[in-house]
């Protein structure tokens, strides 16, 4: 985990391609020893941000600092930062040993020192006996390990990983996720990771930056991102969510608890800083909604059960509200017997509901629709 010391900084970074700003003004501090993940749909600017840190891309505006030093105009070979590329980018004319030794040869280390270091690196990624193989004789997972060993051999201050597990099958990906996390913990090196896979991000990261459309939507720990999404995009992108539009009717007696008016009834939610009559988004995870034939004080939301699917540990139930919108509810299979066609009350613990300001630029909805189909 991080010790609070800043290792890299992005100050007012922007990037234009062909006159289109694909990275909006961005500020970020990366802390020593942390596992930081850029998470977002393809084309959101996450890889560009990574490449700017690596020096493979020059920002249109702004400053990149590594350990307090301005490196904005330094080429990649003068930065103590290494990258694991998405397609591995192993040198096909060199064997595994020479691939891992590449950076060390450039540093003009002695032969014996290089051999010792490379052997240690190959041991670290469990490829001890593969040194003589050519890249085309390796499996995808092995290539991945070589790429990681090759980058780590240079003792980088910062290891950048650009969707390194994207080409692997699901089982191998899960295994490599844990291995990478263990590796990062043991070495204490700062990892900056790019992925579009939310589960990967939640599993591995100390901090996640959710990106969309060239800007940071939210920065936080996996738990903060999941439990307290700050806006509709994050709520939608991370996990399953039910998102409703509602207006603030009043604050009830308990501090911070709001009564919200939805199209089909009023409900309770906790939130601060919302004005009377403000239109808000209300976000609820399927596992946090309860349905029952008995009503709960403060809630008047009702709907018809349309469908339910038993998936072992939970029952996935779809409830249709009078306005035609459906709500996804995950229930304990041993709870009250609910069958399709029943009229049920919907309610939740106000603490579990996340209330969000609506964005003034509703362009967002259009983008989300295009990207996520929601």
């Amino acid at each position: 985990m991080s010790n609070g010391k800043v290792i890299a900084q992005l100050e007012n970074i922007t990037k234009d391609f062909d006159g289109v700003q694909i990275l909006k003004p961005t500020n970020l501090s990366i802390y020593e020893g942390e596992f930081l993940t850029f998470l977002g749909p393809s084309g959101c600017g996450k890889t560009t941000t990574l490449r700017i840190i690596a020096g493979l891309e020059t920002p249109t505006e702004g400053t990149v600092k590594l350990e307090g030093r301005d490196v904005t105009n330094l080429p990649p070979y003068k930065r103590n930062v290494n990258t694991v590329f998405q397609n591995y980018a192993l040198f096909p004319n060199m064997n595994v040993f020479d691939n891992v030794a590449f950076g060390l040869v450039e540093k003009r280390l002695g032969k014996a020192e290089i051999r010792e270091k490379v052997d240690a690196m190959l041991q670290l990624v469990q490829l001890g006996k593969m040194g003589k193989r050519k890249p085309n004789q390796l499996s995808g997972g092995q290539k991945q390990r070589v790429a990681i060993a090759r980058a780590l051999a240079n003792d980088p201050k910062l290891l950048l990983l650009d969707e390194p597990l994207g080409a692997l099958d699901l089982k191998l990906r899960k295994q490599m996720q844990l291995e990478l996390k263990t590796l990062q913990k043991n070495l204490g090196i700062t990892f900056v990771y790019v992925t579009h896979d939310q589960e990967e991000a939640l599993t591995m990261s100390d901090r996640i930056i959710v990106m969309n459309n060239g800007r940071f939507e939210q920065i936080g720990t996996p738990r903060e991102i999941y439990e307290h999404p700050q806006n509709k995009f994050v709520a939608n992108f991370i996990g399953e969510s039910n998102i409703f539009e509602a207006s603030v009717v009043s604050e009830t007696g308990a501090k911070g608890t709001l009564t919200l008016m939805m199209e089909n009834g009023h409900v309770l939610a906790e939130g601060e800083g919302f004005k009377y009559d403000e239109i808000v988004y209300l976000c609820l995870r399927p596992e946090n909604i309860e349905i029952s034939t008995v009503s709960r004080e403060g809630f008047t939301l009702k709907g018809f059960v349309r469908d339910h699917v038993y998936v072992g540990n939970i029952v996935k139930t779809v409830v249709e509200l009078p306005n035609g919108k459906t709500v996804q509810v995950n229930r304990n299979p041993h709870g009250e017997l609910i069958t399709p066609g029943m009229l049920v009350n919907l309610f939740w613990d106000p603490k579990d509901a996340v209330v969000m300001h609506t964005r003034e630029d509703y362009v967002y909805d259009a983008i989300e629709f295009a990207v996520l189909g929601k």
Partner: protein
């Protein structure tokens, strides 16, 4: 019992392969054998040959005069290769980096010269470069020089003509090799601390080596035999293997010697092709 078991596909194979096999037999194998046989025959009194075994032609190949010509030809072919490579590598690199829409027109410019006979194009150059040619006339008229600079009918002119004719043969394989190069390899090398020069030496050059070899072979072999370049650009002053062979057949009428030089040329070609296939198989390993 006599039973002929004919492969049922025999007829089909014969129909498909037969014509081209016949063609190759008549127009490649037979003449080739004839040339080899001729090189071991005795020279006829008025040209032509007498079928009488003789090694005289091969003996004269190894005379110092002809060895010099052979050496000069090899050197010329080698120089042509090197210069073509130096011109074509940066050009092919540029070609693989230009936007798609410019790519087609540039490729067309490379291939366009093939539409006009090389002989005509070289005669065009001769008009430009000779003593009373466009360049010299212009320089004299503008008063920059007093006497024309002799450019034509020198070894330099032959080299120029060779390079001019051969450059497309170098560009095409190089371009194929360079455009296949994975750009992320370059980024990876720079990321691992190699500057531009080191990246070129350690990553780009090895990855494009197959293209360099293919281009070199494709330039070297025709350079050895291209008699018309030496004729047009060198006048009578420069003798190379190509026009030496031509002279032996048509002027000196020493057919066996011409045939022997042809065999020598074929041997050089085979050696180069052998090298090429060796390197081709190396390519698979990379």
């Amino acid at each position: 019992m006599k039973k002929r078991s004919l492969n049922p596909n025999f007829l089909r194979i014969l129909v498909m392969v037969g014509p081209s096999a016949l063609w190759l037999l008549l127009f490649l194998a037979v003449p080739l054998v004839y040339v080899v046989v001729m090189s071991f025959c005795t020279r006829g009194l008025y040209g032509g040959i007498q079928y009488q075994l003789s090694f005289a032609s091969y003996r004269s190949i190894f005379s110092s005069l002809y060895l010099k010509v052979t050496w000069k030809s090899l050197l010329m072919a080698f120089e042509t290769c090197v210069i073509c490579l130096l011109i074509s590598y940066p050009f092919s690199w540029f070609l693989s980096r230009v936007p798609k829409r410019h790519h087609g027109i540039l490729m067309l410019l490379v291939i366009l010269p093939f539409w006009v006979s090389a002989l005509l194009r070289l005669n065009g150059w001769s008009n430009i470069l000779r003593d009373s040619g466009i360049v010299n006339t212009l320089l004299i008229k503008t008063g920059i020089i007093k006497k024309p600079i002799t450019m034509m009918y020198t070894d330099g002119a032959v080299l120029f003509g060779m390079v001019y004719c051969m450059v497309p043969f170098m560009i095409l394989p190089l371009h194929t090799s360079i455009s296949k190069l994975d750009h992320s390899l370059i980024e990876a090398a720079m990321d691992l601390g190699a500057n531009r020069f080191r990246t070129f030496i350690r990553v780009i050059l090895p990855a494009t080596l197959p293209g360099i070899f293919a281009g070199t072979i494709q330039v070297f072999i025709p350079s050895l035999g291209a008699f018309f370049v030496a004729d047009v650009m060198g006048g009578g002053n420069s003798v190379y293997l190509g026009n030496l062979i031509q002279n032996q057949f048509l002027v000196a009428r020493n057919w066996p010697l011409g045939a022997a030089f042809s065999v020598l040329l074929i041997v050089f070609t085979l050696v180069m092709l052998r090298l090429y296939t060796r390197i081709g198989s190396l390519d698979d390993l990379a």
